[in-house]
Amino acid sequence: MRKISLLLLSIAFAYAINIQRDTLPNGLVILTVEAHKLPMIEMRAVTYAGSVFDPAGKQGIATVVNQILLRGTKSRASNEIAQAIESVGGEFFPFTDEDHAGISGRVLSKDLYLLIDLLSDCIQNPLFDSVELLRIKSEVISQIKAEEDRPFSISKREFRRLVFSDHPLGHIPQGFDSTVGNISLSDIKEFYNQYYLPNNTFFVFVGDFQKDSLISILDEKFGNWERRKLQKTKIDAPSETSKPLGKIIHMDISQAYILLGNLGPKYGDADWYETRVMNYILGGAGLTSRISEIIREKRGLAYIAYSYFQRFKTGGYFNALVQTRKEMANEVVQILISEMERIQDTIDVVELSRAKKFYTGYFPLTHDTYREMTSIVLQIESQNLGLDYLSQFKKLIEAVKLNELKAAAQKYLHPDRFYLLIVGDLKPEDIKLERIEWIE
């Protein structure tokens, strides 16, 4: 009996998640979660320098700047950096999304100092070598080209372009092959100087360290990183179409990749939890959502059929996505539109209650590893969710009411003025829609 109660005590202790937030005098924010299950540490160094800040004509620059940070400093060559971290089994990966650019790292806890030492050198003393820039540009352009052989990649890229057109959210972080080629060394330096500042950056550390000693190493290595006033480029809200717009990208394949959607909420918009639950019922819930039940389970028309809301700091979109054989494309489009309509009038309490049960039951599974914990802490900081978010989540979901779901559906689903992108061997005549305007 005693053994069992001790066990329970240790479970409770292990799961008392304590997210702490500290700020260095220069504005650098440090979020930490100590966990001692394994002798390892997960890290993310995140700067608000994502691809929405790419200037027109230089799309892809946020990605290139982020990558070049790991390609040589004033005292270490590109390969020395890789060699140093990998020799001890550690990992560094650059990542860029629409809002953020950063470096993710993972090391055994004995190598924490090495990790921070390298990170500090890469972020504060990049060399910006012209040969490395050429290499990165060539790698990125080749990757963009290779993605053009994948209908799924093309569909996602072109859907963004269709929905946001010239807005900074209209391109994926890689940019375009035509614009990556335009990026010069001085563009890189300018972008870096504008955004890579301690007061525009935060770090997340999860794992086997003592917070106080971690902070003192960070203070030693980043304390002198100079704070400057951030001159952030202002991003306007994206503008929406007043009628359905369609585009077909021709590819000689047996399936049609169908993406249908419209603009949606951005981070921080108040009605997010209602919207999220509404979408769960519509197309977010694995095989039990309405879209999946009709298109996949009943009709066997597709392997993949779902919908989601993608949010960023400056905008967002809704997307219902299905891959089906090309002969069934028209039918699938009709089903998606009618489901977007139907959910505006009919949602029943059973569906709401099921969604709530899922979200509240599932929540602990979203951060049951160091790695996932690191991701969720990143979101908490970036979206300003509050350090008590993990304990608040259940209440936020429980508070959602049936009439709010309908309101969210009416506000964020636009079956009368959507964007439709299809990749496949199809022509506009194959899709029977009356008011739609097809773009070449």
């Binding site: 299950k37 990998e86 990992e91 790698e139 080749s142 290779a146 009709r299 099921r354 039951g361 602990p364």
Partner: protein, 426 residues
């Protein structure tokens, strides 16, 4: 030496409680109390390896049909029970296994044990659900066909293995999927889904005695009948094989496969370390020399595939824009020749060993992941205990071992080479 000592300090063996029920069911329980979550998994000893010609894809199709209801629960109820418990459920089919699992909060993992026991005994495989679900699987197959590199690898296995079932794609060939009947699938179910042909893995925040009691309650009375694998021996390859695959693409690719060894063959450790040296991380040889410095490839990946009854070592290379695929192939061979002729530097071997060691620890971040790995080792790798033996064996490797294995297997006569090329202009 210091490295080995450090490795032994860091490497706490993964502790697993093993129980064997009278009906042949093996139960593995791995405790990890970091989060209040339990992963419950049933691994059946059946996959594409067991499928003879004309039946390819049947294990995978059965996996799909296994979600279509039992005498107790309709298909809809099935999905919803786990959904309402906030669980994450899914299944996958591999070459030697079909795996069903749910990750749930630790206070309710019994649900999944109950549902899987039901699935093991009472599947209906309803005829009216069979045709639409075949449609879903055919769309899944088409989805794969639209991925050019996946298609290249499907052809690579087909050409490389002339007789051995490792040539068959897990999802099956389209005409086989079309032909398979509801009764074929039902018979497959009756043949393979039983306790003696399965292992149950419970990983996470669990009390082993309690879990064992539950397993006995739900599975103790089910009859077991073990199916043994038929053994196939691929005739030795006596000469290079080459093929071309033409698709509607812009960027060509290159795949190379050497016949290699299966799990528990003493050479497997060297293959994994070679794979690390060649392509793991940005300081690896392919990445450093060919991607970055020479700028001739976008990516070059290697895959050391060590399976239950054999294995292969494969390379996928994608040339950078404007680079001739033939010259990429030659550069890859130059790197392979270096491995055969020059001992790897001490530092490089030490790095690879450190990477294996670190990955061994990183992997334990996920209790569910350890659960899946245990199933893999138990069914394909001669026993779950080898999960702990693996990193120790890697630490013992010498430079001579690497040269020996490289010379033994990386021979022109032992390889298959495939080019993925754009269709010629009409």
């Amino acid at each position: 030496m210091i490295n080995i000592i450090l490795a032994l300090i860091l490497l706490q063996p993964i502790e697993v409680k093993e129980y064997n029920l009278a009906n042949g069911l093996k139960v593995l329980i791995y405790e990890d109390h970091f989060a209040p979550v339990v992963s419950t998994q049933v691994h059946y000893r059946v996959g594409s390896y067991n499928e003879s010609s004309g039946l390819t894809g049947i294990s995978h199709l059965l996996e799909h049909m296994a979600f279509k209801g039992t005498k107790k629960h309709s298909a809809k109820e099935y999905n919803r029970i786990i959904e309402e418990a906030g669980g994450l459920e899914n299944a996958f089919t591999s070459i030697h296994r079909t795996v069903f699992y749910a990750h749930l909060q630790s206070d309710r993992y019994e649900l999944e044990l109950e549902l899987e026991a039901d699935r093991m005994q009472n599947l209906l495989i309803p005829p009216d659900e069979f045709i639409p679900e075949k449609g879903v699987v055919m769309e899944e197959r088409r989805l794969g066909e639209n991925d050019p590199h996946r298609t290249l690898f499907e052809h690579l296995d087909l050409v490389s293995f002339s007789y051995h079932p490792y040539r068959n794609p897990i999802i099956g060939f389209m005409s086989d999927i079309e032909r398979l009947t509801r009764d074929d699938v039902y018979n497959w179910y009756k043949k393979y889904y039983n306790p003696a042909n399965a292992i149950i893995i419970i990983a996470g925040d669990v009390n082993p005695e309690e879990a064992l009691k539950l397993v006995k309650k739900y599975y103790g009375k089910i009859k077991g009948r073990k199916e043994e694998d038929i053994l196939f021996e691929e005739p030795p390859q006596e000469g290079e094989k080459r093929f071309e695959l033409k698709k509607d693409i812009k960027t060509p690719a290159l795949a190379i496969q050497y016949h290699a060894v299966g799990l528990n063959h003493e050479d497997m450790y060297a293959f994994d370390v070679i794979s690390m040296i060649l392509s793991f991380g940005t300081s690896s040889r392919f990445e450093k020399n060919l991607v970055r410095e020479a700028g001739i490839a976008t990516t070059i990946n290697t895959y050391s595939s060590t399976l239950k009854h054999g294995g292969s070592f494969s390379i996928l290379g994608i040339p950078q824009k404007g680079v001739d695929i033939q010259s990429l192939e030659n550069e890859i061979y130059n790197e392979i020749e270096k491995l055969k002729n020059e001992p790897v530097a001490d530092e490089e071997l030490k790095k690879a060993k450190n990477q294996v060691l670190a990955q061994t620890i990183y992997r334990q971040d996920s209790a569910a992941g350890i659960g899946f790995a245990l199933g893999w080792w138990e069914i394909e790798g001669g026993g779950w205990q080898n999960i702990n033996r693996y990193p120790e064996e890697v630490q013992k490797l010498t430079k001579e071992d690497i040269i020996e294995v490289a010379q033994k297997y990386f021979r022109k006569d032992n390889r298959t080479v495939g080019y993925l090329l754009p269709k010629e202009e009409k």
